[in-house]
Protein backbone atom coordinates (compact mmCIF):
# COMPACT_ATOMS: atom_id res chain seq x y z
CA UNK A 1 0.00 0.00 0.00
CA UNK A 2 1.56 3.23 -1.17
CA UNK A 3 2.36 6.02 1.22
CA UNK A 4 1.23 9.30 -0.29
CA UNK A 5 1.97 12.76 0.95
CA UNK A 6 -1.14 14.86 0.77
CA UNK A 7 0.02 18.47 0.48
CA UNK A 8 -2.55 19.40 3.12
CA UNK A 9 -2.64 16.45 5.53
CA UNK A 10 0.80 14.89 5.25
CA UNK A 11 1.59 11.26 4.65
CA UNK A 12 -1.33 8.87 4.51
CA UNK A 13 -1.82 5.36 3.20
CA UNK A 14 -3.10 4.81 -0.29
CA UNK A 15 -6.52 3.52 0.75
CA UNK A 16 -7.48 7.06 1.75
CA UNK A 17 -6.93 8.27 -1.80
CA UNK A 18 -8.51 7.97 -5.20
CA UNK A 19 -6.26 8.02 -8.22
CA UNK A 20 -7.33 10.54 -10.82
CA UNK A 21 -5.27 9.50 -13.82
CA UNK A 22 -2.69 11.53 -15.66
CA UNK A 23 -2.27 15.13 -14.60
CA UNK A 24 -1.92 18.34 -16.58
CA UNK A 25 -4.47 17.32 -19.19
CA UNK A 26 -6.48 20.50 -19.20
CA UNK A 27 -9.99 20.46 -20.49
CA UNK A 28 -10.00 22.51 -23.70
CA UNK A 29 -11.31 26.00 -23.09
CA UNK A 30 -13.71 25.67 -25.98
CA UNK A 31 -14.50 22.02 -26.57
CA UNK A 32 -16.81 22.73 -29.46
CA UNK A 33 -13.98 24.16 -31.51
CA UNK A 34 -11.99 20.95 -31.18
CA UNK A 35 -11.72 18.53 -34.06
CA UNK A 36 -12.85 14.98 -33.34
CA UNK A 37 -9.23 13.99 -33.36
CA UNK A 38 -8.22 16.65 -30.83
CA UNK A 39 -11.16 15.81 -28.64
CA UNK A 40 -10.24 12.13 -28.63
CA UNK A 41 -6.68 13.05 -27.70
CA UNK A 42 -7.98 15.03 -24.73
CA UNK A 43 -10.49 12.45 -23.64
CA UNK A 44 -8.76 9.15 -24.19
CA UNK A 45 -5.19 9.21 -25.39
CA UNK A 46 -2.63 8.93 -22.64
CA UNK A 47 1.13 8.82 -22.33
CA UNK A 48 0.88 5.96 -19.88
CA UNK A 49 4.60 6.36 -19.25
CA UNK A 50 6.93 3.71 -18.03
CA UNK A 51 8.97 6.07 -15.93
CA UNK A 52 8.03 9.39 -14.45
CA UNK A 53 4.32 10.09 -14.45
CA UNK A 54 2.50 13.21 -13.38
CA UNK A 55 -0.76 12.03 -11.95
CA UNK A 56 -3.68 13.27 -9.95
CA UNK A 57 -4.81 11.97 -6.61
CA UNK A 58 -7.72 13.00 -4.47
CA UNK A 59 -7.52 12.66 -0.72
CA UNK A 60 -10.97 11.18 -0.95
CA UNK A 61 -11.21 9.96 2.62
CA UNK A 62 -9.32 12.89 4.09
CA UNK A 63 -9.35 16.55 3.16
CA UNK A 64 -11.05 15.76 -0.15
CA UNK A 65 -8.60 17.81 -2.18
CA UNK A 66 -7.14 16.91 -5.51
CA UNK A 67 -3.42 17.30 -5.90
CA UNK A 68 -0.70 16.21 -8.29
CA UNK A 69 2.13 13.80 -7.82
CA UNK A 70 5.25 12.81 -9.68
CA UNK A 71 5.95 9.12 -9.40
CA UNK A 72 8.13 6.64 -11.21
CA UNK A 73 5.90 3.88 -12.53
CA UNK A 74 8.80 1.44 -12.66
CA UNK A 75 9.34 1.62 -8.91
CA UNK A 76 6.21 3.34 -7.58
CA UNK A 77 8.49 5.76 -5.81
CA UNK A 78 7.13 9.27 -5.43
CA UNK A 79 9.31 12.19 -6.29
CA UNK A 80 6.94 14.78 -4.89
CA UNK A 81 3.36 15.89 -4.58
CA UNK A 82 2.13 19.41 -5.23
CA UNK A 83 -1.03 21.45 -5.24
CA UNK A 84 -3.42 21.49 -8.14
CA UNK A 85 -2.81 24.35 -10.50
CA UNK A 86 0.93 24.41 -10.10
CA UNK A 87 2.83 23.63 -13.31
CA UNK A 88 4.66 20.36 -13.54
CA UNK A 89 7.95 20.89 -11.73
CA UNK A 90 11.28 20.27 -13.40
CA UNK A 91 13.13 17.47 -11.70
CA UNK A 92 16.90 17.17 -11.63
CA UNK A 93 18.65 14.10 -12.92
CA UNK A 94 19.83 12.87 -9.55
CA UNK A 95 16.32 12.89 -8.15
CA UNK A 96 15.05 11.09 -11.22
CA UNK A 97 17.71 8.45 -10.88
CA UNK A 98 16.83 7.97 -7.25
CA UNK A 99 13.16 7.51 -8.14
CA UNK A 100 14.04 4.96 -10.78
CA UNK A 101 16.12 2.94 -8.38
Amino acid sequence: MLLIRCPYCGERSEIEFANGGEAHIARPADPMSQTDEEWAQYLYMRDNPKGLIAERWRHAHGCNRFFNALRDTRTDRFVMTYEMGRPRPEIDAATLAEAAR
Binding site: A18, D36, E37, A40, D47, P49, K50
Partner: protein
Protein backbone atom coordinates in the same frame (compact mmCIF):
# COMPACT_ATOMS: atom_id res chain seq x y z
CA UNK B 1 8.58 -31.66 -34.74
CA UNK B 2 8.65 -34.56 -32.36
CA UNK B 3 5.11 -35.77 -32.11
CA UNK B 4 3.70 -35.87 -28.60
CA UNK B 5 1.62 -38.85 -27.60
CA UNK B 6 1.40 -41.51 -24.93
CA UNK B 7 3.37 -43.72 -27.27
CA UNK B 8 6.20 -41.28 -27.83
CA UNK B 9 6.32 -40.74 -24.10
CA UNK B 10 6.65 -44.46 -23.50
CA UNK B 11 9.27 -44.82 -26.16
CA UNK B 12 11.35 -41.98 -24.79
CA UNK B 13 10.98 -43.39 -21.30
CA UNK B 14 13.01 -46.36 -22.41
CA UNK B 15 15.87 -44.04 -23.14
CA UNK B 16 15.52 -42.24 -19.84
CA UNK B 17 13.91 -39.34 -21.68
CA UNK B 18 17.28 -38.36 -23.01
CA UNK B 19 15.90 -38.27 -26.52
CA UNK B 20 13.74 -35.19 -26.26
CA UNK B 21 14.79 -32.06 -28.08
CA UNK B 22 13.92 -28.40 -27.50
CA UNK B 23 10.27 -27.62 -27.96
CA UNK B 24 11.09 -24.40 -29.76
CA UNK B 25 14.22 -22.92 -31.27
CA UNK B 26 15.34 -19.88 -29.32
CA UNK B 27 17.62 -18.23 -31.83
CA UNK B 28 19.85 -15.29 -32.58
CA UNK B 29 18.07 -12.63 -34.59
CA UNK B 30 18.62 -12.48 -38.33
CA UNK B 31 19.16 -9.05 -39.85
CA UNK B 32 15.76 -8.98 -41.51
CA UNK B 33 12.36 -10.63 -41.60
CA UNK B 34 9.17 -10.11 -43.52
CA UNK B 35 7.25 -9.69 -40.31
CA UNK B 36 8.38 -9.04 -36.76
CA UNK B 37 6.01 -9.63 -33.89
CA UNK B 38 6.91 -7.68 -30.76
CA UNK B 39 5.95 -9.56 -27.63
CA UNK B 40 6.27 -13.27 -27.03
CA UNK B 41 3.16 -13.82 -24.98
CA UNK B 42 0.37 -16.13 -25.99
CA UNK B 43 -1.03 -13.53 -28.37
CA UNK B 44 2.26 -12.80 -30.11
CA UNK B 45 3.27 -16.42 -30.44
CA UNK B 46 -0.17 -17.36 -31.65
CA UNK B 47 -0.05 -14.59 -34.21
CA UNK B 48 3.19 -15.95 -35.61
CA UNK B 49 1.71 -19.42 -35.65
CA UNK B 50 -1.36 -18.39 -37.63
CA UNK B 51 0.68 -16.22 -39.98
CA UNK B 52 2.68 -19.29 -40.82
CA UNK B 53 -0.10 -21.81 -40.71
CA UNK B 54 -2.94 -19.95 -42.39
CA UNK B 55 -1.23 -17.33 -44.45
CA UNK B 56 1.74 -19.33 -45.60
CA UNK B 57 4.27 -16.81 -44.35
CA UNK B 58 7.48 -18.16 -42.93
CA UNK B 59 10.02 -15.39 -42.58
CA UNK B 60 8.76 -14.24 -39.22
CA UNK B 61 10.33 -13.45 -35.89
CA UNK B 62 8.76 -13.14 -32.48
CA UNK B 63 10.79 -10.86 -30.25
CA UNK B 64 10.42 -11.14 -26.52
CA UNK B 65 12.17 -8.90 -24.02
CA UNK B 66 12.36 -11.50 -21.28
CA UNK B 67 11.57 -15.16 -21.06
CA UNK B 68 8.91 -16.42 -23.39
CA UNK B 69 5.36 -15.82 -22.19
CA UNK B 70 6.55 -14.31 -18.93
CA UNK B 71 4.08 -11.43 -19.11
CA UNK B 72 0.40 -11.67 -18.44
CA UNK B 73 0.24 -15.05 -20.10
CA UNK B 74 2.17 -16.36 -17.10
CA UNK B 75 0.05 -14.66 -14.52
CA UNK B 76 -3.62 -14.80 -15.35
CA UNK B 77 -6.41 -16.69 -13.66
CA UNK B 78 -7.13 -18.53 -16.92
CA UNK B 79 -10.84 -17.87 -17.14
CA UNK B 80 -12.09 -18.54 -20.62
CA UNK B 81 -15.62 -17.65 -21.67
CA UNK B 82 -17.45 -15.95 -24.51
CA UNK B 83 -20.72 -14.77 -22.98
CA UNK B 84 -20.12 -11.10 -23.60
CA UNK B 85 -22.97 -8.73 -24.25
CA UNK B 86 -22.37 -6.91 -27.47
CA UNK B 87 -22.32 -8.70 -30.80
CA UNK B 88 -18.91 -7.30 -31.57
CA UNK B 89 -17.39 -8.75 -28.42
CA UNK B 90 -19.25 -11.99 -28.26
CA UNK B 91 -18.35 -12.87 -31.83
CA UNK B 92 -14.72 -12.11 -31.08
CA UNK B 93 -14.64 -14.17 -27.90
CA UNK B 94 -16.70 -16.95 -29.39
CA UNK B 95 -14.31 -17.15 -32.32
CA UNK B 96 -11.63 -17.70 -29.73
CA UNK B 97 -13.60 -20.20 -27.67
CA UNK B 98 -14.16 -22.32 -30.76
CA UNK B 99 -10.44 -22.38 -31.40
CA UNK B 100 -9.81 -23.35 -27.78
CA UNK B 101 -12.03 -26.36 -28.21
CA UNK B 102 -9.61 -28.02 -30.60
CA UNK B 103 -6.39 -26.27 -29.68
CA UNK B 104 -4.69 -29.20 -27.97
CA UNK B 105 -5.21 -31.37 -31.00
CA UNK B 106 -4.30 -28.65 -33.45
CA UNK B 107 -1.04 -27.89 -31.67
CA UNK B 108 -0.35 -31.46 -30.58
CA UNK B 109 0.16 -29.95 -27.15
CA UNK B 110 -2.20 -30.54 -24.29
CA UNK B 111 -3.23 -27.10 -23.14
CA UNK B 112 -5.60 -28.72 -20.67
CA UNK B 113 -8.61 -26.76 -21.77
CA UNK B 114 -11.17 -27.77 -19.24
CA UNK B 115 -14.76 -26.80 -19.95
CA UNK B 116 -16.00 -26.86 -16.42
CA UNK B 117 -18.38 -23.94 -16.83
CA UNK B 118 -18.41 -20.43 -15.49
CA UNK B 119 -21.00 -19.19 -13.02
CA UNK B 120 -21.50 -15.46 -12.74
CA UNK B 121 -23.45 -14.86 -9.59
CA UNK B 122 -26.02 -12.11 -9.20
CA UNK B 123 -26.48 -10.39 -5.86
CA UNK B 124 -28.88 -7.58 -6.68
CA UNK B 125 -31.99 -7.05 -8.75
CA UNK B 126 -29.84 -5.00 -11.07
CA UNK B 127 -27.37 -7.88 -11.48
CA UNK B 128 -30.24 -10.15 -12.38
CA UNK B 129 -31.45 -7.77 -15.06
CA UNK B 130 -27.99 -7.40 -16.52
CA UNK B 131 -27.16 -11.10 -16.52
CA UNK B 132 -30.48 -12.03 -18.07
CA UNK B 133 -29.83 -9.50 -20.78
CA UNK B 134 -26.58 -11.32 -21.44
CA UNK B 135 -28.28 -14.69 -21.46
CA UNK B 136 -30.84 -13.58 -24.05
CA UNK B 137 -28.35 -11.74 -26.20
CA UNK B 138 -25.99 -14.69 -26.17
CA UNK B 139 -28.68 -17.18 -27.07
CA UNK B 140 -29.59 -15.25 -30.20
CA UNK B 141 -25.93 -15.16 -31.09
CA UNK B 142 -25.59 -18.90 -30.72
CA UNK B 143 -23.53 -18.63 -27.58
CA UNK B 144 -24.48 -20.86 -24.71
CA UNK B 145 -25.40 -19.06 -21.53
CA UNK B 146 -28.23 -19.92 -19.21
CA UNK B 147 -29.88 -18.57 -16.12
CA UNK B 148 -29.84 -20.59 -12.89
CA UNK B 149 -31.75 -19.98 -9.72
CA UNK B 150 -29.71 -19.75 -6.54
CA UNK B 151 -30.56 -23.36 -5.75
CA UNK B 152 -29.54 -24.51 -9.21
CA UNK B 153 -26.32 -22.57 -8.89
CA UNK B 154 -25.60 -24.30 -5.62
CA UNK B 155 -26.30 -27.67 -7.14
CA UNK B 156 -23.78 -26.85 -9.83
CA UNK B 157 -21.25 -25.51 -7.35
CA UNK B 158 -21.89 -27.02 -3.91
CA UNK B 159 -19.55 -24.79 -1.89
CA UNK B 160 -21.52 -21.68 -2.90
CA UNK B 161 -23.16 -19.96 0.05
CA UNK B 162 -26.73 -19.17 -0.94
CA UNK B 163 -27.94 -18.34 2.52
CA UNK B 164 -30.42 -15.45 2.31
CA UNK B 165 -28.87 -14.02 5.44
CA UNK B 166 -25.54 -12.92 4.08
CA UNK B 167 -24.85 -9.30 3.31
CA UNK B 168 -25.32 -9.78 -0.43
CA UNK B 169 -27.36 -12.94 -0.91
CA UNK B 170 -27.00 -14.85 -4.15
CA UNK B 171 -30.13 -14.27 -6.22
CA UNK B 172 -29.15 -16.52 -9.09
CA UNK B 173 -26.41 -16.93 -11.62
CA UNK B 174 -25.73 -17.15 -15.28
CA UNK B 175 -23.86 -20.20 -16.44
CA UNK B 176 -21.87 -20.73 -19.57
CA UNK B 177 -21.17 -24.43 -19.62
CA UNK B 178 -18.63 -24.25 -22.40
CA UNK B 179 -16.53 -21.80 -20.43
CA UNK B 180 -13.50 -23.14 -18.68
CA UNK B 181 -9.85 -22.83 -17.84
CA UNK B 182 -6.64 -23.85 -19.51
CA UNK B 183 -3.04 -24.32 -18.52
CA UNK B 184 -1.81 -20.83 -19.31
CA UNK B 185 1.87 -21.51 -19.93
CA UNK B 186 1.11 -24.49 -22.12
CA UNK B 187 -0.81 -22.35 -24.56
CA UNK B 188 2.20 -20.20 -25.21
CA UNK B 189 4.59 -23.11 -25.31
CA UNK B 190 2.33 -25.00 -27.67
CA UNK B 191 2.12 -22.04 -30.03
CA UNK B 192 5.87 -21.49 -29.78
CA UNK B 193 6.60 -25.09 -30.60
CA UNK B 194 4.25 -25.23 -33.55
CA UNK B 195 5.36 -21.87 -34.90
CA UNK B 196 9.00 -22.67 -34.46
CA UNK B 197 8.43 -25.92 -36.28
CA UNK B 198 7.14 -24.00 -39.27
CA UNK B 199 10.22 -21.83 -39.33
CA UNK B 200 9.27 -18.91 -37.15
CA UNK B 201 12.26 -17.51 -35.27
CA UNK B 202 11.73 -17.08 -31.59
CA UNK B 203 14.07 -14.55 -30.05
CA UNK B 204 14.11 -14.27 -26.30
CA UNK B 205 15.81 -11.76 -24.02
CA UNK B 206 15.65 -9.15 -26.72
CA UNK B 207 13.89 -5.89 -26.01
CA UNK B 208 12.54 -3.71 -28.75
CA UNK B 209 13.82 -0.21 -28.08
CA UNK B 210 12.82 1.62 -31.24
CA UNK B 211 10.75 1.37 -34.35
CA UNK B 212 12.48 2.08 -37.65
CA UNK B 213 10.63 4.21 -40.13
CA UNK B 214 11.09 4.81 -43.81
CA UNK B 215 10.95 8.14 -45.60
CA UNK B 216 7.20 7.89 -45.96
CA UNK B 217 6.85 7.16 -42.29
CA UNK B 218 6.28 3.50 -43.00
CA UNK B 219 7.70 0.83 -40.80
CA UNK B 220 11.10 -0.55 -41.70
CA UNK B 221 11.92 -2.68 -38.70
CA UNK B 222 12.87 -2.44 -35.07
CA UNK B 223 15.82 -1.50 -32.93
CA UNK B 224 16.47 -3.99 -30.20
CA UNK B 225 18.88 -4.64 -27.40
CA UNK B 226 20.37 -7.21 -29.74
CA UNK B 227 20.71 -4.98 -32.73
CA UNK B 228 18.66 -3.71 -35.62
CA UNK B 229 16.15 -6.03 -37.18
CA UNK B 230 14.57 -4.96 -40.44
CA UNK B 231 11.05 -5.93 -41.28
CA UNK B 232 8.36 -4.92 -43.71
CA UNK B 233 5.66 -5.26 -41.14
CA UNK B 234 5.71 -5.05 -37.37
CA UNK B 235 2.89 -6.37 -35.21
CA UNK B 236 2.91 -5.29 -31.59
CA UNK B 237 1.42 -7.62 -29.02
CA UNK B 238 3.06 -6.27 -25.91
CA UNK B 239 0.09 -6.15 -23.50
CA UNK B 240 1.01 -3.91 -20.55
CA UNK B 241 3.83 -2.37 -22.56
CA UNK B 242 1.80 -1.48 -25.63
CA UNK B 243 1.92 2.25 -24.92
CA UNK B 244 5.66 2.05 -24.52
CA UNK B 245 6.27 0.23 -27.79
CA UNK B 246 3.78 2.24 -29.82
CA UNK B 247 5.20 5.36 -28.25
CA UNK B 248 8.42 4.54 -30.08
CA UNK B 249 6.53 5.20 -33.28
CA UNK B 250 4.86 8.30 -31.91
CA UNK B 251 1.48 6.62 -31.64
CA UNK B 252 -0.47 7.43 -28.49
CA UNK B 253 -2.98 4.88 -27.34
CA UNK B 254 -6.06 5.08 -25.18
CA UNK B 255 -4.45 2.84 -22.58
CA UNK B 256 -3.63 2.85 -18.94
CA UNK B 257 -1.36 0.16 -17.52
CA UNK B 258 -2.50 -0.96 -14.10
CA UNK B 259 -1.37 -3.71 -11.79
CA UNK B 260 -3.75 -6.62 -11.59
CA UNK B 261 -3.14 -9.14 -8.84
CA UNK B 262 -3.96 -12.77 -8.37
CA UNK B 263 -3.20 -15.43 -5.84
CA UNK B 264 -3.35 -19.14 -5.23
CA UNK B 265 -4.12 -21.13 -2.13
CA UNK B 266 -2.21 -24.16 -1.01
CA UNK B 267 -3.32 -27.17 -3.01
CA UNK B 268 -6.22 -29.22 -1.74
CA UNK B 269 -8.13 -32.18 -3.06
CA UNK B 270 -10.85 -31.36 -5.60
CA UNK B 271 -13.34 -29.13 -3.79
CA UNK B 272 -14.42 -26.70 -6.43
CA UNK B 273 -15.90 -27.94 -9.68
CA UNK B 274 -16.32 -24.80 -11.74
CA UNK B 275 -15.43 -21.14 -12.06
CA UNK B 276 -17.33 -18.60 -10.01
CA UNK B 277 -17.25 -14.89 -10.70
CA UNK B 278 -18.98 -12.25 -8.64
CA UNK B 279 -18.63 -8.76 -10.01
CA UNK B 280 -20.66 -7.13 -7.31
CA UNK B 281 -18.45 -8.26 -4.48
CA UNK B 282 -15.31 -8.92 -6.55
CA UNK B 283 -14.53 -12.60 -6.33
CA UNK B 284 -13.11 -14.78 -9.09
CA UNK B 285 -12.18 -18.34 -8.27
CA UNK B 286 -11.52 -21.73 -9.77
CA UNK B 287 -9.45 -24.72 -8.74
CA UNK B 288 -6.52 -25.79 -10.84
CA UNK B 289 -5.72 -29.36 -11.74
CA UNK B 290 -2.91 -29.24 -9.19
CA UNK B 291 -5.38 -28.34 -6.49
CA UNK B 292 -4.76 -24.66 -5.72
CA UNK B 293 -7.69 -22.28 -5.62
CA UNK B 294 -6.81 -19.73 -8.27
CA UNK B 295 -8.22 -16.37 -7.25
CA UNK B 296 -8.30 -13.15 -9.20
CA UNK B 297 -8.05 -9.93 -7.28
CA UNK B 298 -8.86 -6.43 -8.40
CA UNK B 299 -6.94 -3.77 -10.22
CA UNK B 300 -4.78 -1.32 -8.33
CA UNK B 301 -5.94 2.17 -9.18
CA UNK B 302 -2.72 3.70 -10.46
CA UNK B 303 -0.43 3.25 -13.45
CA UNK B 304 2.42 0.94 -12.61
CA UNK B 305 4.85 -1.30 -14.40
CA UNK B 306 6.08 -3.01 -11.24
CA UNK B 307 4.07 -6.23 -11.52
CA UNK B 308 2.95 -5.82 -7.96
CA UNK B 309 0.35 -3.89 -6.02
CA UNK B 310 -0.99 -3.28 -2.56
CA UNK B 311 -1.94 -6.08 -0.20
CA UNK B 312 -5.34 -4.48 0.46
CA UNK B 313 -6.41 -5.44 -3.04
CA UNK B 314 -6.11 -9.23 -2.65
CA UNK B 315 -7.37 -8.85 0.91
CA UNK B 316 -10.54 -7.30 -0.43
CA UNK B 317 -11.04 -10.21 -2.78
CA UNK B 318 -10.47 -12.70 -0.02
CA UNK B 319 -13.20 -11.05 2.01
CA UNK B 320 -15.57 -11.82 -0.81
CA UNK B 321 -14.28 -15.35 -1.22
CA UNK B 322 -14.75 -16.00 2.49
CA UNK B 323 -18.31 -14.68 2.32
CA UNK B 324 -19.30 -16.75 -0.67
CA UNK B 325 -17.37 -19.83 0.43
CA UNK B 326 -17.11 -19.64 4.21
CA UNK B 327 -15.62 -23.12 4.38
CA UNK B 328 -12.54 -21.82 2.59
CA UNK B 329 -11.72 -19.31 5.30
CA UNK B 330 -9.14 -21.68 6.75
CA UNK B 331 -7.40 -22.19 3.44
CA UNK B 332 -4.23 -20.25 3.10
CA UNK B 333 -2.71 -17.97 0.53
CA UNK B 334 0.33 -19.66 -0.93
CA UNK B 335 1.50 -17.08 -3.40
CA UNK B 336 0.31 -13.81 -4.81
CA UNK B 337 1.59 -11.84 -7.77
CA UNK B 338 0.74 -9.08 -10.15
CA UNK B 339 0.68 -8.41 -13.85
CA UNK B 340 0.52 -5.23 -15.91
CA UNK B 341 -2.77 -4.89 -17.69
CA UNK B 342 -3.38 -2.47 -20.53
CA UNK B 343 -6.86 -1.06 -20.07
CA UNK B 344 -8.87 0.89 -22.62
CA UNK B 345 -11.62 3.34 -21.65
CA UNK B 346 -14.31 0.97 -22.93
CA UNK B 347 -12.58 -2.16 -21.65
CA UNK B 348 -12.56 -3.67 -25.12
CA UNK B 349 -9.40 -4.49 -27.03
CA UNK B 350 -7.79 -3.01 -30.09
CA UNK B 351 -6.74 -5.39 -32.87
CA UNK B 352 -6.00 -3.12 -35.75
CA UNK B 353 -3.79 -1.21 -38.09
CA UNK B 354 -2.18 1.90 -36.68
CA UNK B 355 -1.73 5.27 -38.35
CA UNK B 356 1.79 4.13 -39.24
CA UNK B 357 1.86 2.03 -42.42
CA UNK B 358 3.09 -1.47 -41.73
CA UNK B 359 2.61 -1.14 -37.98
CA UNK B 360 -0.17 -3.15 -36.36
CA UNK B 361 -1.28 -3.43 -32.79
CA UNK B 362 -3.15 -5.96 -30.71
CA UNK B 363 -3.62 -4.54 -27.24
CA UNK B 364 -6.05 -3.31 -24.66
CA UNK B 365 -6.91 -6.79 -23.49
CA UNK B 366 -6.55 -5.54 -19.98
CA UNK B 367 -7.80 -7.93 -17.41
CA UNK B 368 -9.42 -10.36 -19.81
CA UNK B 369 -7.38 -11.32 -22.83
CA UNK B 370 -6.21 -14.79 -21.95
CA UNK B 371 -9.47 -16.24 -23.17
CA UNK B 372 -8.92 -14.45 -26.45
CA UNK B 373 -5.46 -15.84 -27.02
CA UNK B 374 -6.12 -18.08 -30.04
CA UNK B 375 -8.85 -15.87 -31.41
CA UNK B 376 -6.93 -12.63 -31.19
CA UNK B 377 -3.82 -14.27 -32.56
CA UNK B 378 -5.80 -15.66 -35.45
CA UNK B 379 -7.43 -12.35 -36.32
CA UNK B 380 -4.31 -10.30 -35.75
CA UNK B 381 -2.46 -12.59 -38.13
CA UNK B 382 -5.19 -12.02 -40.68
CA UNK B 383 -4.99 -8.25 -40.22
CA UNK B 384 -1.23 -8.22 -40.66
CA UNK B 385 -1.19 -10.63 -43.58
CA UNK B 386 -3.94 -8.91 -45.53
CA UNK B 387 -3.32 -5.37 -44.28
CA UNK B 388 -6.98 -5.16 -43.40
CA UNK B 389 -9.03 -6.43 -40.53
CA UNK B 390 -11.13 -9.54 -40.56
CA UNK B 391 -14.82 -8.65 -40.22
CA UNK B 392 -14.78 -9.90 -36.64
CA UNK B 393 -12.08 -7.53 -35.46
CA UNK B 394 -13.01 -4.68 -37.79
CA UNK B 395 -14.82 -2.75 -35.03
CA UNK B 396 -11.85 -3.01 -32.67
CA UNK B 397 -9.90 -0.04 -33.99
CA UNK B 398 -8.10 2.84 -32.33
CA UNK B 399 -10.31 5.22 -34.26
CA UNK B 400 -13.43 4.04 -32.49
CA UNK B 401 -12.56 6.39 -29.65
CA UNK B 402 -12.37 9.32 -32.00
CA UNK B 403 -15.59 8.33 -33.70
CA UNK B 404 -17.52 7.56 -30.56
CA UNK B 405 -18.29 3.96 -31.46
CA UNK B 406 -17.10 2.34 -28.30
CA UNK B 407 -17.79 -1.27 -27.44
CA UNK B 408 -18.43 -0.64 -23.83
CA UNK B 409 -18.84 -3.95 -22.07
CA UNK B 410 -17.84 -2.38 -18.77
CA UNK B 411 -20.48 0.31 -18.95
CA UNK B 412 -23.01 -2.28 -19.93
CA UNK B 413 -22.27 -3.73 -16.52
CA UNK B 414 -20.46 -6.67 -17.90
CA UNK B 415 -17.07 -7.27 -16.46
CA UNK B 416 -13.51 -8.07 -16.84
CA UNK B 417 -11.84 -11.48 -16.86
Amino acid sequence: MQKFSALSLARKALGGHLGWTPQWRSVEPKPAYDIVIVGGGGHGLGTAYYLAKQHGLRNIAVIERGWLAGGNTARNTTIIRSNYLFNESSSYYEHSLKLWETLSQELNYNVMFSQRGCLMVAHTVHDVQVFKRHVHANRLNGIDNEWLSAEEAKAFCPPLNISPNIRYPVLGASLQRRAGTARHDAVAWGFARAASDMGVDIIENCEVTGILRGPGGEVRGVETTRGTIRAGKVGVSAAGHSSVVLGMAGVRLPLQSNPLQALVSEPVKPAFPTIVMSNTIHAYISQSDKGEMVIGAGTDSYVSYTQRGGLHIPAHTLEAICELFPMFRRLRMLRSWGGITDNTPDRSPITAKTPVPGLYVNCGWGTGGFKATPGAANLFAWTIAKNEPHPINAPFTIERFRDGVMIDEAAAAAVAH
